[in-house]
């Protein structure tokens, strides 16, 4: 199955969903509308010909300081999915533009790998995944405030380092 065939099939089935098809460095990227994302990902997962059985990565990009992209897609964030098909040896990247307060449907029910990856995106960017089995922080401490990979988050934090106190449960003396 070639990449052109893949594009033809998804264009036929989801004519409204695909905002843009990008090709760079021999890599295929589909920018998909958020409203169609759930059905779109479900199709890629369960279709026996395409057979995207492996979710390589879920991540996000904050385009706050890149107006040429954020204005073009009317979105601050892009959630990025990397998919791979072992059967066809084909890779595809799915991007979904997202405004600041919008939630995105979870794909953790399709690919189990999405569980921790979506938690990481939530932890770092504050993007909510609807339908996720347990959406809580994965890297930062549970009581941490803010989402540090957002572009408006200061590099040195908001004083967490200075305020940092902890209880080891093993007090001396």
């Amino acid at each position: 199955m070639s990449e052109t065939h893949l594009i033809d099939r998804v264009r036929e089935l989801f004519p409204e969903a695909i905002i843009e098809v990008q090709r760079a460095h021999d890599e295929l990227t589909l920018v998909v509308r958020k409203s169609a994302l759930e059905a779109f990902m479900h199709f890629l997962f369960q279709d026996t010909e395409l057979a995207f059985n492996y979710l390589v990565d879920v991540t996000a990009v904050d385009y706050q300081n890149l107006p040429e992209i954020s204005e073009k897609f009317q979105a601050r964030f892009m959630v990025v999915y990397h998919l791979y098909s072992h059967q066809n040896n084909v890779r595809v990247r799915i991007k979904t533009p997202l405004e600041e307060d919008e939630a995105v449907p979870s794909v953790a029910t399709l690919w189990k790998a999405a569980n921790w990856l979506e938690r990481e995106v939530y932890d770092m960017f504050g993007i909510v995944f609807e339908g996720h089995p347990d959406l809580c922080r994965i890297l930062m401490p549970d009581d941490y405030e803010g989402h540090p990979l957002r572009k408006d988050y200061p590099l040195r934090g908001r004083g967490e380092r200075a305020r940092f106190l902890f209880d080891t449960g093993n007090q001396e003396g």
């Binding site: 988050y153 040195r156 380092r161």
Partner: protein, 163 residues
């Protein structure tokens, strides 16, 4: 006092010394390190222990992954806010007397990672005896640090083990 001479005449194979010296001599040549390797410094620490540099020559090859059996904590790498309570607990679990080496720039001062999540020097929370500069330090630096620790061990006294 002529004590050595008197004992020597009765027991020709006997050696006289101070108790402090004897205990310190045994302790400094059998330090059991607890490695807290969180980054690239941990790899360099492994090189220090391996055949080429061979930390066993200084008696510190018995790496203990249980803090309760170790007396030298080597913090090798970055320590995050979330990780610091773990490190503190490990330090608290080590029996006295104990020493700490802060290996590399990150453990000593945060290194290049002046970010929201990184402890800017573990000495804010646990007492550090020797800081090893470098990113990461060469194995020779670690051997030097161990010798410095041995000098500290030499100077302590059984009267006050916290010294």
């Amino acid at each position: 006092m002529g004590l050595e001479k008197a004992i020597g005449s009765v027991m020709p194979n006997a050696l006289t010394t101070r108790l402090d010296r004897l205990i310190n001599w045994a302790q400094k040549n059998s330090l059991w390190p607890m490695p807290f390797g969180t980054a690239c410094c941990g790899i360099e620490l492994m090189a220090t222990l391996a055949a080429k540099y061979d930390l066993a020559r200084f008696g510190a090859e018995a790496i203990r992954f249980s803090p309760r059996q170790a007396d030298l904590l080597i913090v090798a790498g970055r320590v995050s806010l979330k990780e610091m309570p773990v490190l503190k607990k490990i330090y608290d679990q080590m029996p006295e007397p104990k020493w700490v080496i802060s290996m590399g720039a990150c453990a000593s001062c945060g290194g290049v990672f002046d970010t929201y999540t990184l402890i800017q020097g573990v000495d804010q929370f646990i007492p550090v005896d020797i800081y090893v500069p470098g990113c990461p330090p060469r194995p020779e630096d670690m051997i030097d640090a161990l010798i410095q620790i041995q000098k500290i061990v030499e100077e302590k006294s059984v009267r006050d083990p916290s010294d």
